[in-house]
Subunit: 271 residues, 2 copies
């Protein structure tokens, strides 16, 4: 477990492998880090909550861009639970990091979204590459960003998603620095899991996605420097949903904050 993740420099006071314990620690402010190294045997997801009147359009937008936005769950309007993902889920508090958009502008990044949650919101949970990272590591793919206590870098591409209603915008991708052999293995493995973005959308040539400089990541975080012998491999990323709510300019949308994912009780597939 990296020091970066637990800057207290001592072991966490919760069972970081147990998704319910992780959510409780987040909810109580005892865990504030990225979720990519906790509850690793359980599915994690992106959060996008939109006004109920636009929920069906957003669902169709996701289904029209399934590599970026694979739907794992959808709440009832106003509900902060999605029982099929976790019995005790409070989606307005359990990621521990939120982005609040009003009319397309990011207006706040609270740790608890319950004060601004609204009966009008429908929450979507969308598959995340953190889930297949566990699967890649099980199969001996080296993920150097994890070894270094980092997350994967994200980039905004020049590729437009398929628009639906007010939702559109450019594809966001996540990047992992891999050897050629691991790039091939990761391609074959990830393709088996369309619910976690499936196969890469590009590799080897950042310019193929309009990425001019790997050093300039979306959000400014993640491992961005390749070593000799490594290729950049790019997967569609659920952060694409953040672009979509920005461009939709709706009165209120709420998403998770970077790398603070919805931790579910769904076990990862066993290959």
């Amino acid at each position: 477990m990296s020091q970066a993740l637990f800057p207290q420099a001592h072991a966490p006071d919760f069972d970081s492998a147990d998704p319910s314990a992780v959510r409780r620690a987040i909810r109580e402010g005892r865990f504030t880090g990225f979720t990519n190294l906790v509850a690793r045997e359980y599915v994690q997801g992106n959060l996008v909550a939109v006004p109920a009147a636009h929920a069906d359009a957003f669902e169709l937008y996701c289904r029209s861009n399934p590599q970026a936005l694979p739907i794992l769950g959808r709440s009832e309007p106003g509900a902060r639970s999605i029982p099929e993902l976790a019995a005790d889920l409070d989606i307005a508090r359990d990621t521990g990091g939120y982005m609040v958009f009003r009319d397309g502008d990011l207006v706040d990044t609270p740790r608890d979204a319950s004060p601004v949650w609204h009966d009008d919101l429908v929450a979507f949970v969308l598959g995340c590459s953190f889930s297949f990272e566990t699967i890649l590591q099980r199969n001996a793919v080296r993920l150097r960003h994890l070894d270094e206590g980092d997350v994967s870098a994200m980039y905004e591409t020049t590729r437009e998603t398929v628009p639906v209603g007010p939702f559109g915008g450019r594809l966001i991708v996540s990047m992992r620095a891999l050897t050629p052999a691991d790039a091939i293995r990761a391609t074959l493995l990830s393709a088996r899991y369309p619910q976690f973005h499936g196969a890469p959308v590009s590799l080897g040539l950042p310019g193929d996605l309009g990425i001019a400089d790997l050093a300039h990541s979306y959000g400014g975080h993640g491992l961005t420097r390749l070593r000799p012998g490594e290729l950049p491999v790019f997967w569609a990323c659920g952060a694409t949903g953040q672009n979509a709510v920005r461009s939709a300019r709706l009165p209120l949308c709420i998403t998770h904050y970077k790398a603070h994912m919805v931790v579910t009780d769904l076990p990862l597939p066993k290959d």
Copy 2:
């Protein structure tokens, strides 16, 4: 159909889609070209014939290096037929281009190997990437070397095969210049067909295989110049068997000559 393939500049006088007609045309000297654009819906293979005393060792060498040397058929000692591949196959005449090795040295490249064929030889037919090229094209992967009437370039790598008995040597690969999206698609598709070399062994970085300069291909042929936006994608190649017979220095070995493959009657899998 390319002019390079039929320099007569007129249509061939045989049904180039029919493997039996192709073999007959080769045997009678009416077709002398590369076989990558004929009998495209049928399996083609590499030929390696070794002395019977070493046939079991060669089979084990192939099974120890299955990505390069997937066995499609093996003859009885001295037999020039492999009935499970084609009823009328005369393996000493039907590829139309042979390499004859004595004590590891290439001593002749006849169009007809029957004068030197020997009762002591056992012939192996090994899977070839020409077979999956048809499958890639069926799935809209662009193979520019075919569009340009060329074959894929081959390279000797710095990777050693797993040696067995007298057989060993470095891995040979074939290269295709692909866009990133096609590289991903080709990886996923080819992985389904281990009998035709399976997934790529490397991509993107020629240095990963010790290839210093793509312009210097094994045998000096094939498409070697990438265009912007293309990646080199490398598959294990049956020509690895030629290296193995060179290094084994046996009294007599016979292989096919470059890109003149054994054309079988086995239909390609239908995906």
